[in-house]
């Protein structure tokens, strides 16, 4: 058996996996009920089953018909962009908006093609001023500006 269409193969695998996951969880943990009075498990179990089936069809086709390869992943932007967002979320409350925004800008900028320290620092400064003016002063969103102990 040979994978002839890698894109479809992985997509099929993904759908089958998610479908089975939802169906199995629904069947094992939630009341199914009948078609008259549907329990919380009914709709997800049916949908999960259908999704898994469709995934299998896509998988089967990937073994039968030639198709495109999966393009290379850009791990560098992936890592730094996602990392920046997560860092921001977990830094805002303890460190405040100013430092969290700076962290986000610096981390995500590493995901770009070129990293120039002075440019990034300037960009961070501009964005901090903008977000403080627009979101904290203008729209009054309840963000702490600085680390809690300095306030």
């Amino acid at each position: 058996m040979r994978i002839r269409s890698p894109k479809d193969f992985w997509a099929g695998l993904m759908f089958t996996g998610f479908g089975l996951f939802f169906a199995a969880w629904a069947l094992s943990s939630y009341r199914l009920g009948g078609s008259l009075r549907m329990g919380p498990g009914y709709f997800p179990a049916v949908l999960g089953g259908i999704l898994a089936l469709m995934g299998l069809v896509i998988l089967g086709r990937a073994l039968a018909v030639d198709g495109a390869k999966v393009a290379r992943f850009g791990f560098r932007p992936l890592l730094f962009v996602l990392g920046g967002c997560v860092a921001y979320g977990y830094l805002v409350a303890p460190l405040g908006l100013v430092l969290a925004t700076a962290a986000l800008v610096f981390i995500s900028a590493f995901g770009g093609h070129e990293f120039r320290l002075r440019e990034v620092a300037l960009l961070a400064a501009v964005l901090i001023v903008l977000s403080v003016l627009v979101f904290v002063k203008g729209l009054m969103l309840p963000f702490p500006l600085w680390p809690a102990r300095f306030q």
Binding site: M38, L47, G74, V81, V105, G112
Partner: protein
Amino acid sequence: MDILHNLLIGFQVAVSPVNLLYCLIGALLGTLIGVLPGVGPIATIAMLLPVTFTLSPVAALIMLAGIYYGAQYGGSTTSILVNIPGEVSSVVTCLDGYQMARQGRAGPALAIAALGSFFAGCVATLVIATAAPPLANVALDFGPAEYFSLMVFGLIASTVLAHGSLIKAVAMVIFGLLLGLVGTDVNSGVLRFTFDIPELADGIGFVTVAMGMFGIAEIIGNLEQKGAREVFVKKVSHLYPTLQDIKRAWKAVLRGTAVGSALGILPGGGAMLSSFASYMVEKKVSRHPEQFGRGAIEGVAGPESANNAGAQTSFIPMLTLGIPSNPVMALMIGALMIQGIAPGPQVMTDKPDLFWGLVSSMWVGNLMLIVLNLPLVGMWVKLLTVPYRFLFPSILAFMCIGVYSLSNSPFDCLLMAVFGLLGYVCVKLECEPAPMILGFILGPMMEENLRRAMLLSRGDPTVFFRKPISAGFMLAAIALLIVIALPNIRRKRDQAFAEEG
């Protein structure tokens, strides 16, 4: 005349200073993000959604709507001048618009695009005003069976738009439906698929999903492409089209408006489908099809009118049925719900000032856009010279603020990153996120209506085919599936996407 009376009420709402201001902000923002490639109306509206909480419902909707149709204006500017579509709905405008610019006729191309859009916007406003009330009346009689079937039809229709394989698009819809079910089940109070994470009890936030799947995934995709964007801007000299231009363009504008208004109403329709269909139509009816792709003014006038008309009429199903026909409309529904307004046919009767104010503001907004766009075109194009390495951290910063402020929880940022990863993987595997987002929105609504319909019919599933309206939607959905699956039409659809891409 009822419509006139209603529009009068609407204009009174729309021209109040506050609403004028938000209309202007929306139109400006829309043009801005329309010009910038890589930032679309979906990410922008999602970003601003938490902010609209502080506005009145009318002002919030007026601003968000302005962003959507404003983006159609801005997108055409970059397509024509630098051959970069600012929005997906302006992709076809590149074909002839850029050629016109190379021949030194950028001015007329821009002017025709803006004037055509304005005309289409006026007509579409009237279409909404006349078509929405009767539709809402019909919808008031819809029971759960009708709603369920309508949603099935809408979801199937949304797969027509998706690139690539049909079965993958349908699978994405179902995947979206399942993700929509995460959270507390309204009927039984059971927590479903929450991994015991308290933040998931209210379900996955739509904004979080939309920003991750569209915003983050797109940024990562842009970053992995090597090479800087080349920007060269010729001076735009004379702006006014010649008499000959107008002679050639006005019929295309009319046809584009008609195509766009019709396709916008369809579930799954909207600006992108409209512009694309209009280009095909123009090429078919033209006596000089060989000029297309070489600077035919019809190829600019038609699609640009169509995308604006489509953007506006896609509000009709959202306003009358409470059903989103594309991701942007799903966000509008989100905006309504943030304001505590349940979307559906009752909005028009319960909140006439909201409905008619929004409709009238579209005309006002179009007027603003034409004033903004034509004289200021040079300024907008300068924006393109801002390098992407400045843009993407800025976009990220605003997205993070928006997501975090949804519930002041770091978990939402984490979730956005997770969906960013998922969106990126989906793009790599050629699975379109748009059908999934629609499924995600409709998941809970569909389950609820399915349950009610089955309860009312005493567990008899044939109810969906015994009620005439419901049966109509179901048959239409099945017919649509068969039609897309037919090899002949599939080839056309693939060809179409190939030309566009």
